[in-house]
């Protein structure tokens, strides 16, 4: 039940993120949408590791049944990568704003064709 709910949530969040990415023009909101998409992926990764009757993989006795540790490691890495990407994008947005005087992505048309 939990797994099903969260699985559906992941897919719905992905849909919302892509919708926002394609429909909204404010660049900061595009970054927010990327964060939603990434959160959906993280939720998915953690869900893969989840076993209803297991314990968390840290602070455990050797005999315990525990959830899979590998996806957690992946999720941690993905969070860090996502945060640095967000920072990079926001820096670029500030710079673009300074040079183009706009924060709307559909006005970035110096290069085209």
């Amino acid at each position: 039940m939990i797994v099903l709910t969260i699985g559906i949530t992941c897919i719905v969040l992905t849909g919302i993120g892509i919708y926002g990415l394609l429909r909204r023009t404010h660049m900061i909101r595009m970054v927010l949408c990327f964060n939603i998409l990434e959160a959906a992926a993280l939720l998915g990764l953690v869900l893969i590791a989840y076993r209803p009757d297991a314990r968390s993989p840290i602070l455990r006795a050797a005999t315990d049944v525990h959830v899979l540790p590998l996806p957690h490691a992946l999720a941690l890495t993905a969070i860090v990568i996502g945060a640095s990407l967000t920072a990079l994008m926001l820096t670029l947005i500030v710079r673009v704003h300074r040079s183009h005087g706009t924060v709307l992505v559909d006005k970035l048309k110096d290069w085209r064709g």
Partner: protein, 480 residues
């Protein structure tokens, strides 16, 4: 020596990575010497060349940190990696020499080294999640490099590049999660049987997502449109890196993913062929009407990577080898053309619109000769290496049964001639004399001398180079 050999794949990543902080701290206020960076590349190339013989014998597999694959991360040093890393090392070295201290790009070499480390990792890794990490390292370095020109166009291009790149990264991440969910492993060597045994549509969808992500990174139709916009805003040195180093690395990764999942590759073959054919057509036709040098080259890259993908999607060993060979040759010649573009700026002219580009008076004839040789190579006119690689690609693709594809590759050259001729005529007889006023005279020899010389000299050995590629592909396919 033996213990060094088993650690070799790790060293090939760690040495450039160690170079990153080294360069960061030795670079003060945008100035610095190129020597440390060149030294790092020299060490890597030395390691590579000492171990080719062992790699010929059998791939060197290392489990990083002593954890065996399936839980730990496997790194594999095989002929595919050797061939691609030699090419990328050459391009990175040229980029270091080409970098202009006065361009205002701070920490250029630091980012370059990060890109180098990331791409080496991409080409060596056996683990999909590790590949994801290296994809992001390479990409973040290249986003920053695109923005490093610090001007309006650079930021715009970098933002577009980040948006597309992040979406590609997310696709890969989803794919990896899905594959892990259904197969329980991320190690490419043990993936195939579990992939085939897995039930339902999820594994195939996930693998397709990874492939789509890589196709975005490679810029194939319909994922191609960002490419020209991103390359035209970057400086020529960065464009050379993007079209030479990252493209090669992603292509190698694509080859590894495709060879790790033979059943999926078989069912995807028609789609990949269609994508590659569309890329060839779109790339060449779009290049015909581009107003700028860098955009023209970018669209030509779309087409040439299409050649490689077409040959690879046919699935025959020799055709895959021919595709790989063409991609490597393309990396050298396309990056050389971009490096050559740097010389336009030595005339004090900031625009790269085709009607304004002009070579500096100094070494004018040398520049034109280099351009002609490189353009001949891109078009595929003998006796340069680009001809032989195209020849093999056409013949092997046809032999693998892809007749239309072979005709497309062959005809592509005739279209390419039209736009390279357009640029060449402008370079020989610059149209706007008021723009060709001598700027700060550069006494530097053109950087792509090395790449062009290689393209000329290696043409004689193209048989052996292809044989090497065939061996690499055989090794790659046997490993699965």
């Amino acid at each position: 020596m033996n213990s060094l050999l088993t650690e070799l794949p790790v060293l090939l990543i760690v040495i450039p990575l160690a170079g990153v902080p080294l360069l960061y701290f030795t670079t003060r206020s945008g100035r610095g010497t190129a020597l440390p960076a060149l030294a790092v590349i020299l060490v890597v190339v030395t390691l590579l060349s000492f171990s080719i013989r062992d790699a010929m014998h059998a791939p060197v597999v290392t489990a990083a940190g002593g954890w065996q694959p399936d839980l730990g991360i496997g790194l594999q040093f095989d002929l595919l990696a050797v061939a691609a890393m030699l090419v990328t090392s050459l391009i990175v070295a040229q980029a270091i020499l080409s970098h202009d201290e006065t361009s205002g790009a701070q920490h250029f070499r630091t980012l370059l080294m990060l890109l180098y480390a990331g791409s080496n990792g991409l080409m060596l890794t056996q683990d999909l999640f590790n590949a994801y990490v290296f994809i992001e390292i390479t990409s973040i370095a290249s986003y920053a490099l695109v923005a490093s020109r610090q001007d309006k166009g650079g930021f715009e291009s970098a933002f577009k590049y980040v948006v597309m790149g992040s979406f590609a990264g997310l696709l890969v991440l989803w794919g990896i999660a899905g594959l892990y969910l259904t197969t329980g492993t991320l190690d490419m060597q043990s993936l195939a049987p579990r992939f085939d045994a897995a039930q339902g549509a999820v594994p195939a969808l996930s693998a397709a997502a990874i492939i789509a992500g890589l196709l975005i990174k490679l810029g194939q139709v319909p994922f191609h449109a960002w490419k020209a916009d991103s390359l035209s805003g970057a400086s020529y040195t960065v464009s050379a890196l993007l079209s030479g180093v990252t493209t090669t690395a992603f292509f190698v990764l694509l080859l590894r993913v495709l060879s790790a999942l033979p059943s999926l590759t078989l069912s995807l073959a028609p789609v990949l062929t269609t994508i590659a054919s569309l890329s060839i057509i779109t790339g060449h036709l779009m290049a015909l009407r581009q107003p700028r040098y860098s955009r023209l080259l970018a669209y030509s890259s779309v087409a040439h990577i299409g050649y490689g993908l077409l040959a690879v999607s046919s699935g025959a060993v020799t055709a895959i080898a021919a595709g790989l060979f063409h991609i490597l040759v393309h990396a050298i010649m396309k990056s050389s053309l971009f490096f050559l573009g740097r010389s336009f700026l030595h005339t004090g002219n900031r625009s790269d619109r085709l009607e304004a580009i002009v070579f500096p008076e100094q070494y004018r004839k040398l520049h034109v000769t280099l351009y002609v040789l490189l353009a001949m190579s891109m078009i595929g006119i003998p006796p340069v290496l680009g001809f032989t690689s195209k020849w093999y690609a056409v013949l092997e693709t046809a032999r693998a049964g892809y007749h239309t594809g072979a005709v497309l590759i062959a005809l592509g050259g005739a279209v390419a001639l039209v736009y390279y001729l357009r640029v060449g005529i402008q370079l020989v007889h610059p149209g706007l004399p008021e723009l060709s006023s001598p700027g700060p005279a550069s006494r530097r020899l053109p950087v792509p001398l090395a790449g062009t010389a290689l393209i000329l000299l290696l043409a004689v050995f193209s048989d052996r180079l292809l044989a090497f590629c065939v061996q690499a592909v055989v090794q790659l396919l046997e490993a699965v």
